[in-house]
């Protein structure tokens, strides 16, 4: 016990710092008691550090709370515990390899990261209109499936954080269905580098459409379970009603988009106002609620899952018509050349593709070689194409200096911006409401810190 390096109290610039590690809570009481003799007001408030390792903060988030009893008088976020330097790393990789990096930022919505980056690159290349229709439909399909899985995780972990563990188990059960679909189409459950500049990496495998339709039918039976379990549950309502209130002016001042701003009643959705990937041709509604609190955001997310199912159905119908259509731009100087296939020893290079480049076409071999090693060059300039991610406006500011690598890629991540609302939502409330407020913002720390 005496060599426990963390169980000490020290003097910091603002006052005494206590690190309690168990069976020594009395030290705080004594320490505060000592302070009361001198400066009374200084010791009535206690600054508590929550996180970065904590089961209820959504990932590695550090909350610095100044408490007066159970009331939070000041709440600050400490972030940066997951800073990975992805943006700088992308400057040393080719444009297509950049997709593999950016997909790991917001790890619950990988397709959205990829899509915004690829849309930015395509705008700089000037091939926005040349991306084939099947690729656009596949992008929409995958993004909406990702939206469903992301909202499921939000609801699941949000439920877990307030103690509703069944919501967590059923949320992850449904998410497995979505991940099975991802594995079927892209080959990976998470962090697929599938949406690439110019289109998508591979065509749909046979049987995928049946799986997608089966999934939609099953989800229509499973989604009402969440509503039945939560919507009218008195404990759930008591924890979420009126918590984390942020009205429209607050949202706009803080730059908050996504379900948070839609819970104020304002139907702002980039899929409707600045459509991309053909979203203007799909039939869906923007879901809003009007209570500006955590319950409203929960209802907005539930409703958005239903809308996403509608879009998935429409996308599957279109894909049925587009059998055999190309999934990459026709320009061979940009289109990602190689194909993967499942062989006797697992997934590897498609033998058809190898036969084509080695035996049939010299140009194909040259294109494959040059694109994989050097990559294509993007004309100089900058582009910013924001999309509607599950958490809000996700945009990649892509700067090219004419080379094979990005000169700068900066991601405007919705979680980073939305998390600034923590102070506004939490101060004046109780500690338990801080958890609910943050869960209703649904930050993903990979996106916050990048």
């Amino acid at each position: 016990m005496s060599t426990d390096y963390y169980a000490a109290s020290s003097e910091a610039a603002d006052g005494r710092v206590f690190t309690v590690t168990g069976q020594d809570w009395d030290s705080i009481v004594e320490g505060i008691g000592e302070g009361l003799d001198g400066d009374e007001s200084a010791e009535e408030r206690v600054v508590v550090n929550m996180g970065p390792q904590h089961p209820s903060t959504h990932g590695v988030l550090r909350l610095i709370l100044e408490l007066e009893g159970e009331t939070v008088t000041e709440a600050r976020c400490g972030i940066g515990y997951l800073h990975t330097g992805i943006e700088k790393n992308m400057e040393y990789r080719s444009w297509v390899q950049g997709v593999t990096f950016c997909t790991r930022m917001d790890y619950l919505a990988p397709f959205f990261n990829e899509a915004t980056y690829c849309l930015g690159v395509e705008r700089l290349l000037g091939i926005e209109d040349d991306v084939p229709e099947k690729a656009q439909v596949m992008r929409v399909l995958l993004m909406e499936l990702n939206r469903i899985s992301s909202h499921l995780v939000c609801i699941a972990t949000g439920g877990m954080e307030i103690g509703a563990l069944t919501v967590m188990t059923i949320g992850f059960r449904e998410r497995e269905l979505v991940l099975d679909l991802f594995e079927l189409i892209t080959g990976l459950r998470m962090n697929h580098a599938f949406i690439r500049p110019g289109g998508v990496a591979q065509d749909l495998p046979p049987g995928a459409l049946d799986e997608i339709r089966g999934f939609v039918a099953l989800m229509k039976k499973r989604l009402p379970e969440y509503a039945d379990l939560c919507n009218a549950n008195p404990v759930f309502r008591a924890r979420l009603d009126g918590v984390g209130h942020l009205d429209l002016e607050g949202c706009l001042a803080l730059g908050i988009t996504g379900p948070v701003v839609r819970s104020t009643g304002y139907p702002w959705d980039l899929r409707k106002s600045e459509p991309y990937c053909g979203y203007e041709t799909y039939d869906f509604d923007v879901q809003t609620w009007d209570t500006c609190d955590a319950y409203g955001r929960f209802r907005v997310r539930l409703a958005e899952m239903w809308e996403s199912l509608r879009i998935v159905e429409q996308a599957a119908d279109r894909l049925a018509r587009l059998d055999g259509a190309p999934v990459m731009v026709a320009d061979r100087k940009i289109a990602w050349p190689s194909q993967l296939a499942i062989g006797s020893d697992g997934m590897g290079n498609s033998l058809d593709h190898i036969r084509h480049i080695m035996g049939e076409s010299m140009e194909a071999l040259i294109h494959h070689f040059k694109l994989v090693t050097e990559g294509f060059r993007v004309p100089p300039g900058q582009a910013y194409v924001p999309i509607e991610g599950p958490r809000g406006e996700l945009g990649a500011h892509v700067v090219s200096d004419g080379g094979t690598r990005p000169a700068r890629v900066h991601f405007r991540d919705p979680s980073f911006t939305n998390l600034q609302a923590t102070s506004v939502m939490s101060e004046g409330g109780m500690v338990a409401d801080v958890i609910v407020a943050i869960a209703s913002i649904d930050p993903v720390m990979g996106g916050v810190d990048r």
Binding site: A253, L254, G255, R377
Partner: protein, 263 residues
């Protein structure tokens, strides 16, 4: 006028020291051989050269017998757009001019670049708060939402190495514009936009953390992503990527920024 300064710099860069004779084609000097030999689209009549790319494989000096070591390509960003810009860009530019003139202060007309359907206003750092407030408050402009601040480091753009890029969104008019501010390395100070757009709080902290741009008037400009006592600003181009060589059996691969690679 900022226009004049730009032209001077362009003259200096047009003939970088040591351009090899090989690069000069029959009638075109090296600097005119544009990126990718793409024809300049209509409306982009000028290009702004920012630096030069030499060689192709990152090999310097003897040892590169391919001949690509003598390759010199100019890095030419899209140049200024001329009036009329077309579409709603003119409305925004006019409204901005009127609003900033109304503010009384001496605000220079921003340089405008229109590229791939996106408009960028290059503003002087001192004018930034006035311009931003006008963009937010004026009825015809109404850019309520600032998407964020993005820093970019152009080490070759002498005197304006650090750029801060602001993306603004008008929900009422459904428009997007971009504001770009350039400051030199020697004096990287930009007025903070937190009084105008509170959302810039963390974005400016991140830009400071990663690039070293000091935002004056920011309530609490501290590091946000790196540890508080971290030296240096990581996303600058002169900061190394910081990787370690990866060991394999019998060899090692250097980190990505030290490998030989395409330029």
């Amino acid at each position: 006028m900022s226009e004049g300064k730009r032209d001077d710099r362009r003259e200096e860069k047009r003939d970088p020291a040591g351009t090899p004779e090989v690069g000069k084609g029959p009638e075109q000097p090296a600097a005119e051989q544009a990126h990718e030999n793409l024809p300049t689209p209509a409306g982009e009549r000028t290009v702004r050269q920012v630096g030069v790319r030499r060689g192709m494989f990152g090999v310097r000096g003897t040892g590169d017998t391919s001949g690509y070591g003598g390759l010199t390509q100019s890095i030419a960003f899209p140049g200024d757009a001329q009036r009329p810009y077309g579409g709603w860009y003119d409305d925004v530019a006019d409204a901005l001019e009127v609003a900033t003139r109304g503010a009384g202060l001496d605000v220079a007309a921003p340089r405008v670049v229109i590229h791939r359907g996106e408009i960028t206003f290059h503003v002087r750092p001192d004018d930034l708060p006035v311009v931003a407030r006008a963009l937010r408050d004026d009825e015809r402009l109404r850019f309520e939402l600032c998407s964020g601040v993005s820093g970019v480091h152009y080490p070759d753009d002498a005197g304006a190495e650090l750029h801060a890029v602001y993306h603004l969104l008008s929900m009422s008019h459904n428009r997007r514009i971009r504001l770009e501010v350039a400051v030199p390395d020697a004096d990287p100070r930009i007025p903070s936009l937190v009084p105008v757009y509170p959302t810039c709080d963390w974005h400016e902290r991140e830009t400071y953390d990663m690039f070293g741009i000091r935002f004056e008037g920011h309530p609490a400009l501290t590091r946000i992503l790196m540890p508080d006592d971290w030296p240096g600003h990581p996303q600058r181009k002169d900061y190394p990527l910081g990787g370690i060589p990866v060991e394999y059996k019998g060899g090692s691969v250097p980190p990505p920024d030290q490998r030989r690679s395409y330029n």
